[in-house]
Structure formats: structure tokens, C-alpha cells
């Protein structure tokens, strides 16, 4: 008996404020005008994708003490642009990254519940936590959270918000003109929550939304992050998109679900993926090399090296060799407001690997950084890309992909027109939306309240 084909899930990531996004391309449009967001969202919806994803950072990035100016800078408010996108789409999920450190549960819960109402059940929340005092300088509390408390904060924030979402059962609004009863339960929305992070009580003021709560995303990669996802999330925004790494991550995280009383279908693994689509595989390969050179200019190469070296390298020639000095192993202070610098857990060892790679290929600093900072996930003709995507999903390296185009806003147009029809032909991708809510698109059962609100946790 052959295993039935798994269905591929696809989503669109609005191009980010990092060097993946090629703003110097003549086709590159505005990163702030609503028309760009509407274009990408409508393309994703035309391609029957599950959702549009927005990242967020709450302080402009800095390097060497100056605002970083080589990448796209600036973005809109997540909730506001998602609510507006609900007006120009009808099925597409609307996923926003919202920080649990510099927000309070009552406000975030009412914003997500409102977005879910206003979109007819299409809201999703990527729960992230930052702890840095750098970002805290923009907020009332400053940098109050210790690094080792961030998952504790995220977990309790989500649990508290969930109590608020569940504080309305969904049957409280009677709106009976004749009897004059609008609200069937005067205590609707009652809650009380107290833990180390939050001590709040009262009544939540947004009645239950179509999905009950937004779909929950998690993006952390550490052991703690994976455990948090296995316990609480509906989907993971992962960075492991290749076959071997993807399968290992997939098996690890799905393997954690049983401990939390959950089944494998209740948590989707969706790696971020970039792509270069060409008429032929050879065309695509050539284009991919050109795009990588646009993404890593000489100046950008220096800046990326500085993020590993944790030193000012402005005196180095990007077309010359890597620095011979070792990275400064202290706290990374050269780049701030950027999650990726925290990925270099052993900078000295990474620098050694980079030097070995440079020596083996006789590569300049820029060339080696082009190699080590990631080629595109999918490169090829539409048929090649469709086959690769399906093969990875069938091999349980993922449940699908969150596509990150490098051109705003038209970077997904060709994918929608050429790759999606092939996935549909192969029987691994929907031709129409089957349901109305994002949970429907993701194949998740309706969310049920865990308990009546107001119970202490």
C-alpha cells in the first residue's frame, strides 16, 4: 500500500528588512505603501496560499553605533496593515509577529480577537520575545526582562492571552430585541490571572472571535523554543528547509508532541524558503548567482563579517582575504536589534570554518560570505521547483514552506503563475480553498477553550 500524498502548505513572507531583499533591482517597489502589501497578499491568495506572514522588529537596527542603512529600513505597524489587508482579500490567513515583551496580554488579545473578527477568522500570531535593553529604550518598561526568562515570559504571556480569548464562550450575545436582553451573561469575559509576570483580573471586552483564538506560530530554534512550540503552537516558522536538516528537525519537534497530549497533525512545520525561478534550470542557476551578488555587496560582506567578528572591520577589503584576527568572543555589541547575530554560538569556530572554506576555494571575504550565508532554497525551472517542494514535503522534511521573495511586491507573481499550477497538477496542492478560516486551510480542528475562564492557572 502506498502512502497517500501529503498536501503541501504554502505561505508568503513579505520581504524583510535584511539583505535577502534586493531593493536595488529596478523592479523593486515600495516597502511601505499599502499597494505593495495588497499586491503580495492578492498574489498569495490567487495562488491559494495559507497565509501572508509579517515579521517585526521594534527598533531600527544599528551597527557600529549607527543606524544600519544598507538594507531596507522601515515597516508598518503589523496589526494595522493586516486589518487593512482583510479588506482586499477574502480567504488568505493574516499572520503577524507580535512581541510578548513590550506588550501586555489584554491589549494584544483584544487586537488579535478584533483582527480575527474583522477578517472572518483569518488571524495568526507569531509569538516572539526579545529581552534586549536596546529595543526596550522605545518602551515604558525599558529592558526589564532577563534573557533566561524570555520563554517563561512568552509561555505565560500566551497562556494569559489564551485565558482572555477563552473568557467568552461564544454564546453570550443574545441581542434579543423583544426581551431587551443583549448580553445573556453579565459576567461574560471574566478572568483572573496571577503569576510571576502578570497579575491581572477583570472582564475581557472582545467577544469570542470566529477561530476562538488566532493560530499560534513559534519561530525559536533552541531546545526551549522547540518545547514551547510542541506545547503551545499550531505551526512552526522553521529555518531548516533542506532534506537532512528538515527531517531531523521535523522528527524532533513532532516527537515532542505526544508528551503534551498532542498528535502530529496538530503542529505544522513550515520552513522559510527563498527561490529563483527560471525558464530552465541553467537560467535559474545563473540568475541565482547574480542575485546572491546583489544580496551581498562588498559593503554588506564587511558588515556581515563584523557581525561574526564582533569587531569593526571597515578597514578590510571585501575582495581580499578574511581577517586573520579572531572574533572578539565577548558579548556581541557591534550589531544591535538583529536576531541573527545570536545564532553565532561559537564565533571563533565559525570563523575557522569560514577560513578553511576560503582556503579550499581560494575565495575572497565577499565570495566566502556569499557561500556561507545561504544560497536560495529552490533554484530551477517551475517543474524542478515543484518537484523539489513536493519531494521535501513527502519525505517529512516539512509540511510546506513560507516563501520569501527577494523582490517587493512582485516577487511571487511568477511562482503563482508557473509553480502552483504544477503542484496542483501533481495532486499535492489545493485548487480552491476548502474552508473559510486559517485553521481550515492548515487542516487544524476548531480550537476549543481549555477551561472556563476565571479559573486560576
Amino acid at each position: 500500500m502506498t502512502k497517500p500524498l501529503k498536501q503541501v502548505h504554502l505561505a508568503a513572507h513579505f520581504p524583510g528588512v535584511n539583505n535577502t531583499t534586493v531593493w536595488s533591482d529596478p523592479r523593486s517597489g515600495s516597502h511601505i505603501d499599502f499597494s505593495s502589501f495588497a499586491h503580495l497578499a492578492q498574489t498569495a491568495e490567487r495562488a491559494k496560499m495559507d497565509f501572508l506572514f509579517l515579521a517585526e522588529g521594534l527598533r531600527l537596527r544599528e551597527q557600529n553605533g549607527l543606524i544600519y542603512d544598507l538594507d531596507v529600513v522601515g515597516r508598518p505597524d503589523t496589526f494595522t496593515v493586516l486589518a487593512a489587508l482583510a479588506a482586499v482579500t477574502s480567504h488568505l490567513g493574516l499572520a503577524g509577529t507580535i512581541n510578548s515583551t513590550f506588550n501586555e496580554p489584554y491589549e494584544v488579545a483584544r487586537q488579535f480577537a478584533s483582527l480575527d473578527h474583522l477578517s472572518g477568522g483569518r488571524a495568526a500570531w507569531n509569538v516572539v520575545t526579545s529581552w534586549d535593553a536596546f529595543t526596550g529604550e522605545n518602551f515604558r518598561r525599558g529592558g526589564f526582562l532577563a534573557q533566561d526568562q524570555r520563554y517563561d515570559r512568552a509561555r505565560t504571556f500566551l497562556a494569559t492571552a489564551s485565558e482572555l480569548f477563552d473568557s467568552w464562550r461564544g454564546d453570550e450575545i443574545a441581542a434579543d430585541r423583544d426581551s431587551g436582553v443583549f448580553l445573556a451573561d453579565p459576567l461574560a469575559g471574566s478572568f483572573a490571572h496571577r503569576d510571576a509576570h502578570f497579575d491581572i483580573s477583570g472582564q475581557f471586552n472582545v467577544p469570542r472571535s470566529p477561530q476562538g483564538r488566532p493560530v499560534i506560530f513559534q519561530a525559536g530554534d533552541s531546545d526551549e523554543g522547540r518545547e514551547f512550540a510542541a506545547e503551545c503552537a499550531d505551526a512552526i516558522f522553521s529555518r531548516h528547509g533542506t532534506l537532512a536538516e528538515g527531517q531531523a528537525f521535523y522528527a524532533d519537534v513532532k516527537g515532542r508532541l505526544a508528551r503534551h497530549g498532542r498528535t502530529p497533525g496538530e503542529l505544522l512545520i513550515l520552513p522559510a524558503a527563498t527561490f529563483i525561478l527560471g525558464d530552465t534550470d541553467a537560467d535559474a542557476a545563473q540568475e541565482a548567482r547574480a542575485v546572491r551578488r546583489q544580496q551581498v555587496s562588498g559593503q554588506t560582506a564587511i558588515k556581515l563579517a563584523e557581525q561574526l567578528w564582533n569587531r569593526d572591520l571597515s578597514g578590510y577589503d571585501p575582495d581580499g582575504p578574511l581577517p586573520e584576527i579572531d572574533p572578539d568572543p565577548g558579548e556581541n555589541t557591534i550589531a544591535r536589534g538583529r536576531a541573527s547575530v545570536r545564532m553565532h554560538r561559537d564565533p571563533v569556530a565559525v570563523a575557522r570554518q569560514w577560513r578553511e572554506r576560503a582556503a579550499a576555494g581560494n575565495l575572497s571575504m565577499r565570495e566566502v560570505i556569499i557561500e556561507v550565508t545561504g544560497r536560495q532554497s529552490f533554484i530551477g525551472s517551475a517543474a524542478t521547483i515543484a518537484d523539489s517542494i513536493s519531494a521535501l514535503v513527502q519525505a517529512d522534511a516539512s509540511d510546506g514552506f513560507i516563501l520569501v521573495p527577494h523582490i517587493t511586491p512582485g516577487g511571487l507573481d511568477d511562482f503563482a503563475d508557473q509553480v502552483v499550477p504544477l503542484l496542483q497538477e501533481r495532486g499535492v496542492y489545493r485548487t480552491e480553498y476548502a474552508g473559510a478560516t486559517l485553521r481550515d486551510h492548515l487542516g487544524l480542528a476548531p480550537h476549543r477553550a481549555a477551561q472556563r475562564a476565571g479559573q486560576p492557572s
Binding site: 505597524d77 472572518g120 443583549f182 491581572i200
Partner: protein
């Protein structure tokens, strides 16, 4: 009135204040009401589209961080009125792409929220609406709302207590700091900060991005915003005010003041008080308690446009609106009272009143429809044509931004050299 008089008269600005099923507590029981749809996008889209068809300047959206309550400091447990609501900024954003001219002014409670988040949210509302955003700032003195956040205690005081004025003054001083921060953040990107200079590889000119370095009694905010300067430069800031302390907020911080006079003389008195407070504010440097005032002195802002709030019951025919008001009061079981004057009459009678009071210096009115959609349609299909017949209201939108509709220029960034 002669044609010359009409030409001399300043334009009349009209807004409607949208809240639930309307402002009367029994409005949701009216035959045209849609009490089961109050949490849907379609409901709000139909109201704002109707307001735009009537060429109104803007709509406001009420909001609170607690269930609606008739009590000042606590929940009222009422089940016979609309309870539960959606976030006002998100409603405004949801209807923005469906409209083209009308201003969108959601309420934001400043007491428990972050000025950084609000600044980028309203800037983004300005982007998604093509320059039609405003924000009405509101303070919260409710202990129940404070408990929803658990971050601070709010002193419970009654108006007769000696501490009441201190508490209220503190909340409004904080609101002034909050507005100062959101305004600095809107200016923190100069209009031409995005340069996309391929030759040098720079996306922005970092010399045109500015730290705002605000430090006040309640918060410090470093900046710059993560959102570029919005289309209007400065979206409009509004506040509802009933007494001297909030009048001061209007005078120091707002572009639009909503006030509640009960006759033309009171309107004149309130406007005189606000103008005097504006003159005082011009004397002092900066606003609020904050430091870190940027080097470039602000151009004096024009005085706030003052709009009078009126609750309106409108029907054609003598006594019809008053009879409807009585019927709604009867359904609710008592007479509805409001901070604002309550008007019940024909669109023609309302037009008389609006033009009469306007002479006291009002820029216009924010009408609170007693019942939705009935009284809104009476405004757009009865009152507006009546005012147009008297040459007292626009016959078409004059512009596509809220500033253009209100005849306000687009200010330069305070940080621009």
C-alpha cells in the same frame, strides 16, 4: 442672509461619532439596527460608506479597555445594552481600503498603552488610507481598566475629593507627553529619508533619521520610529474635553477639540478658554513634562479646530424625532442623558442650530447618531442636502487627505534642517 454673508462664512465641518448601535442605550432594539452584526467588518463598512456618501469630513470610532459601562469607575453588569467591542484602530484600518475621501479617527486610550506602538499604528493607518488618519486620545481613570493591565494602580477619587484634580491633572499631563512622543516619532523620519542610492549602497540617509530622546515623568522613548513619516506628515490628534484640564490638553497638543456646549454662548465661552490656554502654551517651551526638545523650535501650531458634540435624533415631520426619543427612553426604562446636548428634531431644524452656533467660532460638529443606521442616514440624506441648499456645506470632496478636507497644511518635520 445675503450671498455675501455665505461667502464670508467659514466652511462647516461635519463628523459623526460611531459607537455600537448608536448612542442611545436602547438603539440596538430599533427595527433597522443590526445588533448581531456589531462585530463584523460589513457592519462598519456600511456605516463609513454611508458617511462618505454624505461627504462628511471624518468619522470617529469610540473605544475603551473595559466592557462598556454606565458607571464611571466600575463595570455596571448591565445586560440590556450593547456590551463588547472591537479595537477602534483595527476597525478604522479595516474600512480604510473601502473608502477614498473620508477621515478615519479611532480612539486610543493613552493611559495603559505604549506611545511607540500607537505612533506607528496611526502612521500605518495614514498609509493604508492614503492620508486620512487621525487619532482621538483618551485617558483612563478606571480602576477596572488598570487591573486589566496590572502595571499600575489608579487612585480612586470622586470629583468632590481634594485629590481628584491632582489625579486628573496627572493623567492629562501624561496624555500630553504621549502626544508629544507620537508626534516626534512621526517626524523622526524626514520625508526624503529613503534614498535608495544604488551607487553608495545606502537605502536610507541616516542623517535624516532622528532619535527623539524623549524623557518625561512617565516614560522615556529613544526612537526613531520603525515606520517612515506618514503621508500627512502629522496625522491629526483629537481630544474630547469638558473642563479646564482637558481643555489644556486640546490647547497644548491637539489639532481637533471636541467639546460639549449646550448653547451658542457656552460654545463661545469654551472656545475663548481654549484660545487663552493656547496663548499660554505658546509662551512656554515645549509641551508636557518631557525633556529632549529638538533644536529646531516648532512653528506655532494653528489653534485647534473646535467641534461641538451633539447627540442627534433626526426625522422629517414635526415632533417625529422627539416621539422616537420618548419611545427609546421608554424601552430603556429611563431618560437617556449625555454629556453633550441632545437634539431631537428635523434635519432643517438641526441645520438652523448648527449655523446659529457656528457663529460663536465653532469649526463644525461631531454628531453622535442616537440610533444606527437611522440617524446617520438622516444626517447624510437629510441634513447634508439641507445644508447644501443653504450653501453651507461642500458639494464634493475638496481633497483626498484629512488635512486637505480640514484646510490644514502639511507640516514639515520638526527635525528637517
Amino acid at each position: 442672509m445675503t450671498p455675501a454673508d455665505r461667502a464670508d462664512r467659514p466652511p462647516l465641518h461635519l463628523a459623526v461619532a460611531l459607537d455600537g448601535a448608536g448612542w442611545h442605550p436602547a438603539a440596538w432594539r430599533e427595527p433597522l439596527a443590526r445588533p448581531g452584526d456589531l462585530l463584523t467588518a460589513g457592519y462598519w463598512a456600511s456605516l463609513v460608506t454611508e458617511a462618505e456618501a454624505g461627504l462628511l469630513d471624518f468619522v470617529t470610532f469610540e473605544d475603551s479597555l473595559s466592557l462598556q459601562s454606565m458607571r464611571r469607575l466600575e463595570p455596571d453588569g448591565a445586560t440590556d445594552q450593547v456590551r463588547g467591542r472591537l479595537d477602534a484602530v483595527l476597525i478604522a484600518a479595516r474600512v480604510a481600503p473601502l473608502t477614498r475621501h473620508i477621515g478615519l479617527v479611532p480612539t486610543v486610550i493613552v493611559t495603559h498603552t505604549e506611545p511607540f506602538h500607537t505612533s506607528k499604528a496611526i502612521a500605518t493607518l495614514d498609509y493604508v488610507s492614503g492620508g486620512r488618519a487621525g487619532v482621538r486620545v483618551r485617558v483612563s481613570s478606571r480602576p477596572d481598566e488598570a487591573a486589566h493591565f496590572g502595571r499600575r494602580a489608579v487612585a480612586v477619587t470622586e470629583p468632590r475629593d481634594a485629590a481628584f484634580l491632582d489625579t486628573v491633572t496627572g493623567l492629562f499631563d501624561e496624555a500630553a507627553d504621549y502626544v508629544e512622543v507620537i508626534r516626534r516619532l512621526w517626524d523622526s523620519w524626514e520625508d526624503d529619508a529613503e534614498i535608495r542610492d544604488v551607487a553608495t549602497g545606502r537605502f536610507v540617509d541616516r542623517g535624516k533619521l532622528h532619535y527623539i530622546d524623549f524623557e518625561g515623568r512617565w516614560f522615556a522613548v529613544r526612537g526613531p520610529s520603525i515606520t517612515p513619516r506618514p503621508p500627512q506628515g502629522q496625522p491629526l490628534v483629537a481630544a474630547l474635553a469638558h473642563s479646564t484640564v482637558p481643555y489644556q490638553l486640546v490647547a497644548r497638543s491637539a489639532d481637533l477639540g471636541f467639546v460639549t456646549p449646550h448653547d451658542a454662548a457656552q460654545a463661545a465661552q469654551i472656545i475663548a478658554e481654549i484660545r487663552a490656554l493656547e496663548a499660554d502654551a505658546q509662551q512656554s517651551t515645549g509641551t508636557g513634562t518631557g525633556t529632549g526638545w529638538p533644536g529646531t523650535p516648532l512653528e506655532p501650531r494653528p489653534g485647534a479646530a473646535v467641534l461641538a458634540d451633539l447627540v442627534v435624533f433626526l426625522d422629517e415631520g414635526a415632533g417625529v424625532a422627539a416621539a422616537r426619543r420618548d419611545r427609546l427612553d421608554e424601552r430603556w426604562g429611563r431618560a437617556y442623558r449625555s454629556d453633550a446636548e441632545i437634539f431631537a428634531g428635523t434635519p432643517g431644524e438641526l441645520a438652523d442650530l448648527l449655523l446659529d452656533w457656528q457663529a460663536s467660532g465653532l469649526a463644525g460638529y461631531r454628531l453622535r447618531p442616537a440610533a444606527l443606521p437611522h440617524d446617520l442616514a438622516q444626517i447624510t440624506r437629510g441634513l447634508v442636502p439641507e445644508l447644501q441648499r443653504r450653501d453651507a456645506f461642500r458639494r464634493g470632496y475638496e481633497g483626498s487627505t484629512l488635512r486637505q478636507l480640514l484646510r490644514l497644511g502639511r507640516p514639515a518635520s520638526r527635525y528637517a534642517a
